[in-house]
Every structure is written in structure tokens, then in C-alpha cells.
Amino acid sequence: MKPSYQEIVQWMKDYFATYNQYAQDAATVRRLDEYFAPDLRFIPYMYVFGGPQAGHHSREDFYRMLTGHPDDYEQFEVLDIFVDVERLVAVAFLIARIYDSRTDELLVEKHYLPLYELTLDERGALKIKTIRFFWEASPPEVDAKYSGAGKGN
């Protein structure tokens, strides 16, 4: 059975809380299996991640990116979530903050507007199948602070 509007909103909020806590540590990233389909597609609409032809074609590849920048970590603040319940699509309006892992100094702050195509797995559980990722267009010197960018991303 299709989830309701409110169930999708809550599921997305739970996803972001789980992401903040577990997604960037190789020891805990598999907690995100609850949210990502194995054939997750990540499509970045910015050159620092290779543009829309690049990105990732599996959950495993995506995890390598998420855990591939130990010098810093990313935290999301959810500002708003839109849901198309007919199509199982959500759009999140976020502030992302990148912190230095050693000192917790704030390195970068910018807005993201990712779109999440959702699906129901064989058990009827929601999963993220595709992320189409747009972010605030900052000067190149700001984007250069994303240490995960350019490492096979």
C-alpha cells in the first residue's frame, strides 16, 4: 500500500536524522541501507562532482563518497519538504554545513535542493532510488572546500 503524505514527510525527516548521525562513518554507514535502494542513482548537477553524466550508480559507490572525506563532515538542517504523493517524489530544502572533523570549525554553509525519487521495495518499505542533486551556486573557491569532490565522485 502506498504511504500517506504525512508518512513520507516523517520518513524523510527520519532519513535526514539518520544521515546526520551515521552516513559519514564507514563503521555506521550501513544504517542507511534502510533508506537507499541497492541500485541508487546519484545525479549531481554541478561540475565539482562531474556533472549529471557522472555521479553514482549504486548504494555502495555512494557510500564510498559519503565516507571518503574523513577530514570534514556534513550536517543537514531541514528547512522544508515538498511531497508529490501520487508519484512518490520528495524535494527537500536544506542548509548543509560542512565542519572540520578535528576542530568542529564551520567551513562551508550553503543551501541544497535535492529531489528524491522513492520506490517501495519487495517488503513494501520506502527506499530512495534516485537523488537529483542541486545546490546553491557559490563561487569556485567555496566549492573547492568540498574535500569529497573530485575523489572519483
Binding site: Y5, Y45, M46, Y47, V48, G51, P52, F82, V83, D84, V85, E86, R87, V89, V91, F93, K110, H111, L113, L115, R132, F134, W135, E136, A137, S138, P139, P140, V142, D143
Partner: protein, 154 residues
């Protein structure tokens, strides 16, 4: 308030109207049907400022006569409960005289709607775009051909 299907039809109409009227100073007021008086353009792009008010927005839209922006919505999602939609858009910037496509990139925007005089209109455009590599020809490189003569978009 509009139903899901009504918003979907309205969005199709809006993009078709933008294509016909959205960049022509003689026809731009056809877009009054879609943009609220207090419309706000809210770009998340360095060096691009917010635009408050429909009339100011129209000045921006009609400020680049030598370059035409062709918008093709590739995906539209509709939040019926919130009376809002979001669209991923293929934008092609063409030279008006030659028809040559000078820039192609994707936009992603969300459009909260508001009721004005009994009909739904766009209250705000929260606007993101694909970030092209440094040195790539950008939209402003085309529009600035006109802005250079007047010192800015509006």
C-alpha cells in the same frame, strides 16, 4: 485551491504562456495570470540578487532582447496539500537572430502558489541551477550583451 490534476494542467499552461509571452515587453502582462503582484524571485546563485514584485520581475525577463530563454519542463512534481510545485527544467539560451543555442543547462525550482483575486498564482520562485565548470559560457554571458548597454538586468 486546485486539485492535483488542475495544478498539473495549470503548470503546462504556465510554461506554454512563458514561451509565448514571458520575454516580450509588449506581451509580458499576459503573465499576470500566473505571477502574483507580490511575486518574489529567490535565486540561490552567487552574484544574482533577489527580485521583489511582479513589475520588477518583468523588467528582468524583458531585459535581454538579443537572447531568448527557451524553457522545457522535464519533470514536474506537485504537492497538492501545500499548493506548490517543483520543476526540473531544461533551459536553452538562443541567439534571437540566428537561433543558435548558446547555453544549455538545467534549472531546478520550486514554486509555492498563493490565491489572489480568487485564482492561484506563483507567490515565489526558489531557484537553483546546474553549476557549470569555471570558464564555460554562462547565461549571463549572453544576457550581458544587452545589460552592458543599460548597466544591469533591470
Amino acid at each position: 485551491m486546485m486539485t492535483y490534476d488542475e495544478i498539473a494542467a495549470w503548470v503546462d499552461e504556465y510554461f506554454a504562456a512563458f514561451d509565448k509571452y514571458g520575454q516580450d515587453p509588449d506581451l509580458i502582462h499576459h503573465m499576470d495570470k500566473y505571477f502574483s503582484k507580490d511575486f518574489v524571485f529567490n535565486p540561490y546563485i552567487a552574484q544574482v540578487g533577489k527580485v521583489a514584485g511582479r513589475e520588477q520581475w518583468y523588467k528582468v525577463l524583458t531585459s535581454h532582447p538579443s537572447g531568448v530563454e527557451k524553457l522545457t519542463p522535464e519533470d514536474v512534481l506537485i504537492d497538492e496539500r501545500r499548493q506548490a510545485f517543483a520543476a526540473q527544467i531544461k533551459a536553452e539560451i538562443k541567439d534571437r537572430d540566428t537561433g543558435e543555442v548558446l547555453v544549455t543547462k538545467r534549472y531546478f525550482a520550486r514554486y509555492p502558489l498563493v490565491e489572489e483575486e480568487g485564482v492561484m498564482k506563483i507567490a515565489r520562485l526558489d531557484f537553483f541551477w546546474e553549476v557549470l565548470p569555471p570558464g564555460a559560457r554562462e547565461i549571463d554571458d549572453v544576457f550581458e550583451r544587452d545589460w552592458g548597454r543599460r548597466g544591469g538586468p533591470a
